[in-house]
Subunit: 205 residues, 2 copies
DNA sequence: TCGAAATTCGAAGATTCGTTCGGTATTTGC
DNA sequence: GCAAATACCGAACGAATCTTCGAATTTCGA
């Protein structure tokens, strides 16, 4: 099983990378619509225009696509999140930036995100997915840390910080299920709304 | 293809119904852990103790299980929701009751709920799932109506009511992903926390 | 206790699916 | 323009899957 490798000749290399990204994007759309297991390679070949054999010049196998989709989703998001918390801005500002970037990201890559959500059980169970799993955990830790810093310096108040974190994860992760590109609300407005709900929470008097 | 029907003899009828519920519950657990398509009938037979052919006395086919799981999840929830909004309690109280019942339900049936979430694309796409789809929509409409009544009578304030609805759906639907039976927070505490976040939201001054 | 109903078995059937592989066409670098 | 690298094709294979079916066993009701 020779794993396909990018061509060494420079003129073809760019074309190869671009085509591979196309294939992954097409797969993300199909997987989001029909499910990973519910999408056959035959449907994928039809959607990409390639024939059965041609596909395997760009991917190792079907599950390679799933990993590529998750990586395209999590890697840039995690990088951006680390940039934001490296700032010296106060926690509340960092949280707003984080949620804004996060919402914008899942809206733009909503197909990726839908696949990530649907295949969560596979991701959490199989050892092969350790990397994806640790990226998800790293992102959630960044969020939790920001909330913790806000709680400590008194700029945020939570009845239960852990619950607020889970609520935020729920809101944002659910967004791709209903959001439409060029919908009524912009990603920024959505993010602001979410932040308001999380930050307005106060312990019962 | 003779569809399996409950026995007419009374003594066996109860046993049949019970066994069928067992099968559905086992399927819900496996599907939640491994995914619907990722679970083979062979694994199901192993988990139920029945042999391949024996299973088909209780179900029509694999997707029959999926419908049964969704029905067991949505039917009682929808019924309870209708009871609550038939009350004359003020909207805020109705909302608290709704969310409390809802959270308790998804926590208790978290396997069912995880399957429902994972197979959402199938449910929303295929005509066969019209019934499940309409139950989901009916429940969401009940929620939206309560929020609308609260907004009109001034007891609730939303920057954007639609967004608050989606946020609430996100929070609750995500709950099964992290909640543990006998965990630190009771379903009631979780529900109260969610309500506080949704109700505390106010338009920016 | 007897006959019919109900339950269970497990091997076989039919289909679907992911992947491979030999071959052909196209492109690149020299 | 030539040779080598690259891109692509599509039939075919092997494995895995869901479901069926006839037979064997158990259970119920009269």
């Amino acid at each position: 099983m020779p794993l396909p490798s990018p061509p060494t000749r420079p003129a073809l290399r760019a074309r190869y990378e671009a085509r591979r990204r196309e294939v992954v994007a097409t797969a993300a759309k199909l997987f989001a619509e029909r499910g990973y297991a519910g999408t056959s390679m035959a449907e994928l070949t039809a959607a990409t225009g390639l024939a059965a054999g041609g596909l395997y010049h760009y991917i190792e196998g079907k599950d390679d696509l799933l990993i590529a989709i998750c990586d395209e989703l999590l890697e840039p998001l995690l990088e951006r999140a680390r940039e934001i918390v490296a700032t010296e801005a106060p926690p509340v500002e960092q949280l707003r930036e984080l949620v804004a970037a996060w919402v914008a990201h899942v809206v733009e890559h909503r197909h990726h995100m839908l696949v990530f959500t649907q295949e969560r059980q596979a991701i959490e169970r199989q050892p092969r997915w350790r990397h994806v799993r640790s990226q998800r955990k790293a992102f959630e830790k960044i969020l939790d840390d920001v909330l913790a810093r806000g709680e400590i310096d008194g700029s945020m108040t939570f009845a239960d910080r852990r619950l607020s974190l889970f609520a935020l994860l729920g809101m944002v992760n659910y967004t791709p299920q209903w959001v439409r590109p060029n919908g009524r609300l912009s990603p920024t407005e959505i993010a602001d709304g979410y932040c308001a709900m999380v930050l307005a929470d106060a312990p019962p008097s």
